[in-house]
């Protein structure tokens, strides 16, 4: 169980309305990701759901029951914080057991649940250490463990991986995805890393300044961004957004073409330019291309190692079927 509904929810801090009226439904078992630029209200929204902030107007329903005025502990939600928010003076075991102790659960049952969670999260070896003696990834796992044992109806994650280094982030990302598969519990996940959003989400909610720009599955957003904001935000490297004459040719104010949808050809091709920086990763090569006659610099991805270097001339062919068109308001032209 874990359906969450926001109905005309707003939030103001003093006189500043951070969230204008907003409606959103998160279905039971869904993995929903909130993305958006810094300060757009992702954390605020999550905290409203958690009950850590009072909503200014509107209603929140959890599993169909009004939870607007419920204290956090009574909402049956568990939260994993960016800073992990572990209790530094308690061992891993005590950290994980804390919510159960607070619920005055039977000690034997507490033990059972803590051990089960430690098992699932591979924490058994560290169970008697303090958080200070753990690595970032291990700490994150403890935080998740503390959330799991409560068997909440939904998990809330606020940028849980942003303090980890790249390699660990990839690992933890998969662990959380697998956990979601295993538990099938509703999860709401805040991030500003669009790779995390794309790989983990069942449903992505793109926010800007407290307003929902688009809601949909990752591939829906990738394939049909509703506006230039979403187009620029989803996909890495960023979609090339081209204005001016080239766009006019396609009856649009702006056209968008992703780097991976531009082919490097031996000769000919629609566009020609010079290579600025060529980044050879082995698996791929990224070219940053100048002097194409377009107003904007282009980014192009070539598969494998393409031996063009700084200053070379490059011929490019955009795949027109993958092109996105936007009108003067930045909205997608179907």
């Amino acid at each position: 169980m874990g359906q969450i509904q926001l109905k005309q929810v707003t939030k103001s801090f003093g006189d500043v309305q951070v969230i204008p009226p907003l409606d959103l439904t998160i279905e039971d078992g869904e993995f929903t990701v909130f993305v958006g630029p810094s300060g757009c209200g992702k954390s605020t929204l999550l905290r409203l759901i958690a009950g850590l902030e009072d909503i200014t107007t509107g209603h929140i329903e959890i599993d169909g029951k009004d939870a607007t005025d419920l204290v956090p502990a009574k909402r049956g939600l568990a939260m994993v914080f960016q800073s992990y928010a572990l209790y530094p003076h308690m061992s891993v075991r005590k950290n994980i057991a804390f919510p159960l102790r607070m619920a005055k659960m039977d000690p034997a049952e507490i033990d059972r649940r803590v051990n089960a969670a430690a098992e699932v999260l591979n924490l058994a070896d560290y169970i008697d250490r303090r958080p200070g003696q753990l690595s970032g990834g291990q700490r994150q796992r403890v935080a998740i463990g503390r959330a799991i044992v409560r068997e909440p109806s939904a998990f809330l994650f606020d940028e849980p991986l942003s303090n980890l280094d790249a390699a660990l982030r990839v690992g933890m990302r998969m662990e959380i995805s697998e956990l979601h598969k295993k538990l099938a519990t509703t999860m709401i996940y805040v991030t500003h890393d669009q790779v995390e959003a794309m790989t983990m989400a069942d449903k992505i909610v793109v926010l800007q300044a407290g307003v929902i720009e688009q809601v949909g599955s990752p591939l829906e957003l990738y394939r049909a961004p509703r506006n230039t904001f979403v187009a620029g935000f989803i996909g890495s490297p960023k979609m090339n957004l081209i204005t001016g004459d080239e766009a006019a040719k396609h009856n649009a104010t702006t056209i968008g073409i992703r780097p991976e949808h531009i082919d490097v050809v031996e000769s000919g091709g629609a566009w020609t330019g010079t290579v600025g920086v060529a980044e050879h990763l082995g698996s791929d090569t990224f070219f940053h291309i100048h002097n194409t006659g377009l107003a904007e610099m282009l980014t192009v991805r070539a598969i494998g190692d393409v031996s063009l270097r700084h200053g070379d001339t490059i011929h490019l062919n955009p795949r027109t079927e993958e092109m996105h068109r936007f009108d003067a308001d930045g909205l997608r032209i179907a």
Partner: protein, 287 residues
């Protein structure tokens, strides 16, 4: 960063402070030790010769010795208890959002600025005086018999005066510590179903333990030496004679420098016992 050059520079730069303090410790210490083995009576013309351990024996066997140790400990522990407990409560209160926080903070720190002599005088005369003191007026207003604080409740009165002076210090250290508590930890506990009292007990208090240690360490150092407060208020009467006041009486009132110096040596030993004890805890609790 540790090249040979920087290490030798470090040694050199530490030297002045270390040498000065070593001198400040050793010169008086050696002189005190020397005096403590002499019959040294300034009013009888000074040094009267070797005393052996007489001074030491006389000092500890004096009926005033153990009570004075006890008084010292009561005052130190009493002040520590009050300042830590009220310091925590005040820190929690001042951490809350409010109007005029800066002004309130200044009001709370103010007692720290007051010279111990002045504060003792003010408390003694204007508050604790059993006839004209403000407390006496207050007691009478409620129909109670005024208390002669400095005789009937002398230790509590001194503990109160000293606590008033040191409460700002404790409060501020604890306030800074409270402010450094990651609010996400408290929110996590809230989500975990801990009510406010349990959040205090399980999260806030353990977080404050380091700050509390520091309060205890520094205050103890200063409290072991309090003098003016006692000199001004009771002059050591009514069971308020601390070890350092007893030494004062021996040296200055009785003009027996040898005996007082032996007391000084005891005080140094006591201070070091306390210091070692404290540093054990602090060593563990610092970084």
């Amino acid at each position: 960063m540790a090249t040979k050059a920087s290490r030798s520079a470090a040694r050199l730069m530490m030297a002045p402070a270390v040498i000065l303090l070593l001198g400040w410790m050793l010169v008086p210490l050696i002189m005190t030790l020397w005096f403590s083995f002499r019959v040294y009576l300034p009013l009888r013309g000074g040094d009267q010769g070797w005393a052996g351990f007489d001074n030491y024996i006389r000092f500890v066997t004096s009926s005033a010795f153990w009570p004075s140790v006890q008084t010292t400990l009561i005052i130190v522990l009493g002040v520590l208890a009050i300042t830590v407990i009220f310091g925590i409560l005040l820190a929690l209160l001042l951490d809350q959002p409010m109007w005029g926080q800066g002004v309130v903070r200044i009001l709370v720190i103010a007692p720290f600025f007051v010279m111990p002599t002045v504060s003792a005088l003010v408390w003694k005369n204007m508050f604790m005086d059993p006839v004209n003191g403000l407390f006496a007026h207050l007691w009478r207003f409620f129909g109670a018999e005024p208390v002669s604080w400095l005789s009937d409740a002398s230790l509590p009165a001194i503990v109160m005066i000293v606590s008033w002076q040191w409460l700002p210090f404790a409060t501020l250290i604890l306030l800074t510590a409270v402010q450094s508590l990651d609010s996400e930890q408290l929110e996590a506990a809230e989500m975990d179903g801990a009510p406010i009292v349990k959040r205090f007990w399980f999260i806030v208090l353990p977080h404050l333990s380091r700050a509390i240690t520091i309060v205890i360490l520094i205050q103890t150092i200063f409290l072991l030496a309090i003098f003016a407060e006692i000199f001004v208020t009771t002059g050591g009467a009514f069971g308020t004679r601390t070890l350092s006041y007893l030494i004062f009486q021996r040296v200055l009132e009785s003009q027996n420098v040898g005996l007082g110096s032996a007391g000084g040596v005891y005080a140094i030993i006591l201070a070091n016992i306390v210091a070692i004890f404290l540093m054990r805890i602090v060593g563990k609790n610092l970084d």
